[in-house]
């Protein structure tokens, strides 16, 4: 080994053995707008943030509901307005994936969770923003469902696409699809 190579190897070894001080990262796709799955997503997200991780949540399709303000009106075309009417409201309108019973399930689960003192979905979302979780809407599904950025709560970052998510996911130690 020539001195040059030896020096280069030393450098490589120094880099390889250097402790990685970068924050660990978790990236999530949140496609579901179901109450129970949103609970899962936000509990994992806020828990990871508390544990010192950098958290990215990418909301797409039904998951966009989680970002909407309660009073948001969405839709510009006939179909978009219909969708806004039928699937309107913010995160507090999310119903469980099972035992929905046309809204009864939401009420029942709300009661049960309240009795056990679990944080509500709006509280968890506010906490997520407070903890600095990076929340993004998917531009494509926002366009399709006619849900503009203005209908989201404060703290949601500007919309992104799949390329952005993949770049985040590549740097993440944990990735989830919910």
């Amino acid at each position: 080994m020539t001195p040059d190579v030896a020096q280069a190897m030393e450098q490589v070894n120094a880099v390889a053995s250097a402790p990685d001080d970068r924050r660990k990262k978790i990236s999530m796709v949140v496609m579901s707008g179901d109450m129970d799955k949103l609970f899962g997503a936000f509990i994992i997200g806020t828990g990871a943030a508390a544990m010192g991780m950098e958290v990215t949540m990418f909301f797409t399709f039904w998951g966009l509901r989680a970002l909407k303000r309660a009073d948001a009106k969405t839709g510009t075309t006939f179909f978009g307005k219909m969708m806004g009417l039928m699937y309107g409201g913010g995160i507090e309108k999310a119903s469980p994936s099972k035992f929905s019973f046309g809204g009864m399930g939401r009420w029942m689960f709300g009661k049960m969770m309240g009795a056990h003192n679990v944080a509500t979905l709006p509280q968890l979302r506010d906490l997520a923003i407070d903890l600095g979780i990076n929340m993004y809407g998917c531009q494509m599904s926002m366009d399709v469902m006619e849900i503009p950025q203005e209908s989201f709560v404060k703290g949601v970052k500007d919309p992104v696409g799949v390329g952005f998510f993949i770049a985040e996911a590549q740097e993440s130690q944990v990735t989830l699809f919910i």
Partner: protein, 79 residues
């Protein structure tokens, strides 16, 4: 049992996952490095979560024990 008086007391009774861990995480920076937080929770899951949080964030659980129906933690801020 540790005899040292904690720098901060946290009442986490009644809170469920993930709140006990989140509260410890939000409050640890209120004590100086080397200082301690004493937290009392009723969530049995926190017995696993708070030590895991400490390991992940580089802090130290000095004490974690079940006292009656409660879980008492003494957490030391390491950095």
């Amino acid at each position: 049992m540790s005899d040292t008086k904690p720098d901060l007391e946290l009442d986490l009774r009644g809170l469920l996952c993930p709140m006990p861990m989140v509260k410890v995480s939000q409050n640890i920076s209120k004590v100086p490095v080397g200082g301690t937080v004493r937290a009392v929770a009723t969530d049995a899951g926190s017995m696993a979560d708070i030590p895991a949080w400490a390991k992940s964030t580089g802090n130290e659980v000095v004490q974690a024990e079940k006292v009656g129906s409660e879980y008492v933690f003494l957490v030391k801020r390491v950095k």
